[in-house]
């Protein structure tokens, strides 16, 4: 049996509950999921302000159906549509604080999605996983492994300061330079698409091999934490 995820998400924002509704769910299912969330809150409904975010304007039929259901079922203090400005503000805040957010989460394994641009430095205390491309002119640093699910065209330093077991892996492995522990190797200029390769230390030198044919973890009988 597949468990369905809820069509409704709720989080506290300021003095309101921000209710986000999945855009493609049927209204009946949304009503069921709303009931699950709001039934336990009946005793404090009169003091609750709800921001209803259906992804559509408040003139939309779907918005009105859900709004009417909430209004008639629970005696809430107020139900309003999110202000465009608030959404815009949230986006601006995210843009402005993107670097701070990354720094805050880099305590352990850091997973990022998107493009890392020239001039950016990303460092993780342990492992670093980038789902996206890493442009030339940026620096990645990690205490453990660096995995790039995309093109690695920048500089990557894994196993900092002295973890010789670390690897650097990319689906399209074309780095300018790699460093593992204290050993540095210059990347070779590659034309076009690179290969899925990984760099690791062997007898004090950096070796780059195809990940699929020389997978270093193939022979491990069971998984261990890295």
């Amino acid at each position: 049996m597949i468990e369905q995820t809820s069509s409704v998400r709720m989080k506290g924002v300021g003095d309101s509950l921000w209710v986000t509704v999945l855009p493609d769910s049927p209204v009946e299912r949304i009503q069921e999921d709303l009931a699950k969330l709001f039934d336990p809150l009946r005793h404090m409904a009169h003091a609750t302000r709800v921001v209803l975010d259906t992804g559509t304007p408040d003139s939309d039929d779907r918005y009105r159906q859900i709004h009417t259901y909430l209004k008639n079922t629970y005696q809430l203090k107020e139900i309003v549509a999110p202000k465009e400005k608030a959404k815009h503000e949230e986006k601006r805040f995210k843009m402005k604080n993107s670097d701070n957010t990354i720094a805050k989460h880099s305590r352990d394994t850091l997973v990022l999605a998107g493009r890392v641009r020239s001039g950016q430095s990303v460092s993780a205390r342990k492992h670093l996983i980038i789902m996206g491309d890493v442009n030339p002119g940026c620096d990645l640093t990690a205490g453990g492994d660096i995995l790039v699910l995309g093109s690695l065209l920048g500089t990557a330093a894994a196993g900092q300061p002295n973890n010789d077991e670390a690897i650097i892996l990319a689906l399209d492995f074309r780095p300018l330079q790699v460093k593992i522990g204290n050993v540095v190797a210059a990347g070779l200029p590659a034309k076009g698409q690179g290969m899925t390769e990984f760099a690791h230390l062997e007898d004090g030198a950096i070796v780059v091999e195809s990940y699929l044919s020389a997978n270093p973890f193939k022979r491990m009988p069971w998984p261990v934490v890295r």
């Binding site: 843009m95 402005k96 670097d99 442009n135 002119g137």
Partner: protein
């Protein structure tokens, strides 16, 4: 009036920011918009030369910042195109003569006077860049199909993102024959690295040198393919974002030739 401020930037020097600013500004003005092009390259001004207005400069943007004159006194009207004004840079100061706060203050005034304000950003990412982008609503990143230019454009896009300024990409000086031979990055290679929306592709064109040296608007030369490309870029910036982007190529198809003769395919 609530004008839009667009900064034309690149990071790297010599990629065609000033030509792009003058050409897009002229094209927007010919579409009936009131346009100011602002030279932010304090100490190394040349937008005035490109526009053939160097002998008309009385006041400049530093004078405006220091309240020596009004904005309207510093704005020089183009000789050939109505609605196009140049606000020149000072040649005797350096970049520290202005602060970002000065620019925010001047920009408020500029928005009330013009529909579009195009800021010709100096090369680099120091004070000149900071001044030019201080009040910008959006940016056009000029980039040539060379790795050094792409690297710098990438850096600038990141800096603008942190300042919440959305960027569009203009690829300049494309040599179609070299792209077809595989000796030059294709526009797709550049977009793959920079991953921002394209606003236009401009091919290399000898007419640019002629227009720049004579101070005449490039877009007024109908046989200039670069000029026509800048015209289309101006249209995309002026409410037609979905105007198809033409990819420069060496061979023009028969239909394209016929189309351009009767006024299509521009």
């Amino acid at each position: 009036m609530n004008g839009k401020i667009i900064v034309i930037s690149s990071g790297k020097g010599g990629v065609g920011k000033t030509t792009a600013t003058a050409s897009i500004g002229a094209a927007l003005a010919m579409e009936g918009k009131k346009v100011a092009v602002v030279d932010m390259d304090i100490g190394l001004r040349n937008l005035d030369v490109v526009m053939g207005l160097e002998n008309r400069i009385v006041f400049n943007i530093v004078d405006v910042a220091r309240s020596k004159c009004k904005l309207t006194q510093a704005a020089i009207k183009s000789r050939r195109i109505d609605n196009l004004f140049l606000i020149p840079a000072s040649q005797s100061d350096n970049k520290d003569a202005l602060t970002p706060q000065d620019m925010i203050r001047i920009s408020k005034k500029m928005r009330t006077e013009f529909d579009f304000i195009l800021m010709d950003c100096p090369a680099g990412i120091e004070r000149g860049f900071e001044n030019a982008v201080a009040a910008a609503d959006e940016a056009v990143i000029v980039c040539t199909p060379e790795v050094s230019s792409v690297r710098d454009a990438d850096r600038v896009i990141g800096l603008l993102y942190a300042k919440e300024i959305p960027s569009k990409l203009l690829i300049n000086r494309i040599v179609p024959a070299m792209v077809e031979r595989g000796d030059m990055l294709s526009h797709q290679d550049v977009v793959d690295v920079l991953s921002i929306d394209l606003v236009g592709l401009v091919e290399v064109d000898d007419q640019v040198v002629v227009a720049t040296n004579s101070g005449t608007p490039l877009i007024m030369q109908n046989d200039s393919r670069a000029g026509q490309a800048f015209k289309r870029i101006a249209m995309r910036l002026n409410g037609q974002p979905d105007l198809p982007i033409e990819i420069p190529s060496t061979s023009k198809s028969l239909w394209k030739k016929i189309g351009s003769k009767i006024g299509f395919g521009k």
